[in-house]
């Protein structure tokens, strides 16, 4: 096939050359079907899709939805952990937690920038969060009630996030994949700090051990829910796998998480709140109980313990910061005008 032959040339050449040939191809006014074929071929060949490349509208839309949801999760995720900065129990813990929450803000920035490469501004993306149009990870709608929750978030929530994010480092969209590589490096530090908080508590006083176990009991099931609906019920999964945005199914990742955490829980000397949890030698995996899908959908739909508070906190920060952003813009304009006057 002619297109494929042309395309093969691009697969072996550098990006600049690739773009050159691509432009040539574009000039031939190809049909959408032809363009889609080239696009999918590129994805199949593990060549990253870059912002200026042609891509199907649905691919762009899926990426905007997924990356912005991811960005919002980072930003909203700052709130439950930020809740303990002022009360962190030692100066060292306070400094680590501050640095960690600040990292999340940085992740939000990379991801909002990745969304911008797809043609959606940061302001638009943020407005979609505030209007309720865009979602964020439901896990952050649970409250952080004790210091041990900060450990449990690091260990379980960041642990679940990492499995997803490691997979996304190989996502077909270049800017997303590259952002994820940076994010993953920091996330693995986050998970370790969470585990370490719990490790200290698990070796501490009876009250501390109880605090540790209680936090794990509360965060275990919501963490399993982070991987989303079951494979058969996940709306976007199949297409995302074909596009290589995703490479593992929700259930595969969830199983990987359970297998990993059960082993780590032994070191902490804690139990996981699931009587059905047991090793299945035949499968080579741990079996585990059924997630409470009623709770899952309830939280997704806005009825979690903190949905309202989280969104309200984000809206408040944005609204109350408007005059600051306006002032910065106005001052920049004035400066520019003054410099132009000087030059004239």
């Amino acid at each position: 096939m002619k297109i494929q032959q042309n395309y093969k040339l691009t697969t072996v050449s550098a990006t600049a050359n690739n773009n050159y040939l691509w432009d040539k191809l574009k000039k031939r006014a190809m049909s959408v079907q032809e363009l889609e074929k080239i696009f999918q071929h590129k994805v199949d060949q593990e060549i990253k899709i870059e912002p200026k490349d042609w891509m199907p509208d649905a691919y762009r839309k899926t990426l905007v939805r997924q990356i912005s949801q991811h960005a919002h999760s980072e930003i909203v995720g700052m709130l439950p952990e930020g809740n303990w900065i002022s009360r962190a129990p030692s100066l060292k813990r306070k400094a680590i937690l501050l640095a960690k929450v600040q990292d999340e803000a940085g992740h939000g920035l990379y991801l909002y920038s990745a969304v911008e490469t797809l043609g959606t501004t940061r302001n638009q993306t943020i407005e979609d969060l505030h209007s309720g149009k865009a979602k964020y990870s439901s896990i952050f709608n649970y409250p952080t009630l004790t210091w041990a929750d900060i450990g449990a978030i690091g260990w379980l929530v960041d642990g679940a996030a990492i499995l997803n994010q490691v997979m996304l480092c190989r996502a077909s969209y270049g800017p997303y994949a590259r952002a994820m590589v940076r994010i993953c490096k920091e996330e693995s530090f986050h998970q370790r700090q969470g585990f370490e908080i719990l490790l200290v508590l698990s070796k501490g006083s009876p009250e501390q051990r109880a605090m540790c176990q209680d936090a794990i009991n509360r965060w275990w099931w919501p963490s399993l829910m982070m991987f989303g609906p079951k494979d058969g019920e996940s709306t976007h999964s199949d297409q995302s796998m074909t596009w290589k945005i995703k490479r593992k199914s929700n259930d595969e990742l969830r199983q990987q998480f359970v297998d990993m955490i059960v082993e780590q829980a032994k070191i902490l000397n804690v139990t996981l709140p699931d009587p059905a949890l047991k090793w299945n030698a035949e499968r080579g995996h741990y079996d585990f109980g059924e997630i409470d899908w009623v709770e899952f959908w309830n939280v997704v739909k806005g009825n979690g313990p903190c949905n309202k508070q989280r969104l309200e906190a984000r809206r408040k920060a944005w609204t109350e910061g408007a005059w600051v952003r306006d002032a910065a813009a106005a001052h920049a304009e004035k400066r520019k005008a003054r410099q132009q006057d000087k030059a004239a």
């Binding site: 129990p89 100066l91 501050l98 910061g321 005059w323 600051v324 910065a328 001052h331 004035k334």
Partner: protein, 251 residues
């Protein structure tokens, strides 16, 4: 044990810890993501300085004293921070102006502390000075942006100026431990920093199109000797809660 030196180090440490605690309240709530990161970064720098200073004070005191017992197990009356650092954040303008006043003072202080006969203090000052240089630049740029931004931002920062000015005089009125350490050559003669501080403030306020406040304003004092505003009790109640509720355990 040199109690005067310990008090002086605690005073320096308390300033940075309490302001760090206040700034950290912005984390996750800043007006724009980049500035959320920036103010958190300043908070982190300050807590880093606080840790170095408390660790040094703990060494001077000896026994079971640690950075954490100093931060978490002293009461309001033992804290020696300046009143300005404990004032509520208010809006972004108030937070910025408080930071600008404090960082400008801290920069002048650390510059002098480089020559301290106390090698540890000189080393901490040297390490911190790089951070504080950035804090001064960042906060003064924001004072200018807000003063010379929109009408609303001008009014807000002008209001902050009125509210905070009367807490700046305390910087330059030495407590006993400051006078004694300055005489020993370990501390800094703080009153001498007032004029250079005023000069810097005036330059920035001028660029921000803000009026320089009256020189003869009444100044609130007391923080350095443990007579605080009502704010500090709440800050400590929150900050010290876990250490107080579960005494003697590791975290």
């Amino acid at each position: 044990m040199n109690q005067t030196l310990i008090n002086y180090v605690l005073h320096l440490a308390d300033n940075t810890l309490i302001l760090s605690q206040r700034n950290s309240e912005w984390c996750g709530h800043g007006p724009v993501l980049e500035q959320d990161i920036a103010i958190t970064n300043i908070s982190l720098d300050l807590i880093g300085q606080a840790r170095s200073l408390y660790q040094y004070a703990a060494t001077l005191q000896g026994g079971n004293v640690t950075e954490d017992t100093l931060a978490y197990l002293r009461d309001e009356r033992a804290f020696k921070n300046c009143l300005l650092t404990e004032l509520p954040n208010g809006d972004w303008g108030q937070t910025i102006l408080r930071q600008f006043f404090f960082s400008t003072y801290q920069h002048l202080l650390y510059e002098k502390l480089l020559n301290s006969k106390d090698e540890t203090l000189a080393a901490i000052a040297e390490k911190s000075l790089k951070e504080v240089t950035y804090h001064v630049r960042w906060s003064s740029e924001w004072v200018i942006r807000l003063g010379d931004g929109t009408e609303e931002s001008h009014q807000r920062i002008a209001k902050a100026l009125k509210e905070l000015w009367s807490y700046t005089g305390e910087f330059f009125i030495p407590a006993d431990y400051e006078t004694a350490t300055a005489n020993e050559g370990t501390g800094v003669e703080i009153a001498a920093l007032q004029q250079p501080w005023l000069n810097k403030i005036q330059d920035v306020l001028q660029e921000a199109t803000l009026p320089m406040p009256e020189a003869k304003t009444y100044m609130h004092t007391g923080g350095k000797t443990g007579i605080h505003t009502e704010n500090l009790g709440y800050i400590l109640a929150e900050m010290q809660h876990l250490q107080r509720s579960y005494p003697g355990v590791e975290w």
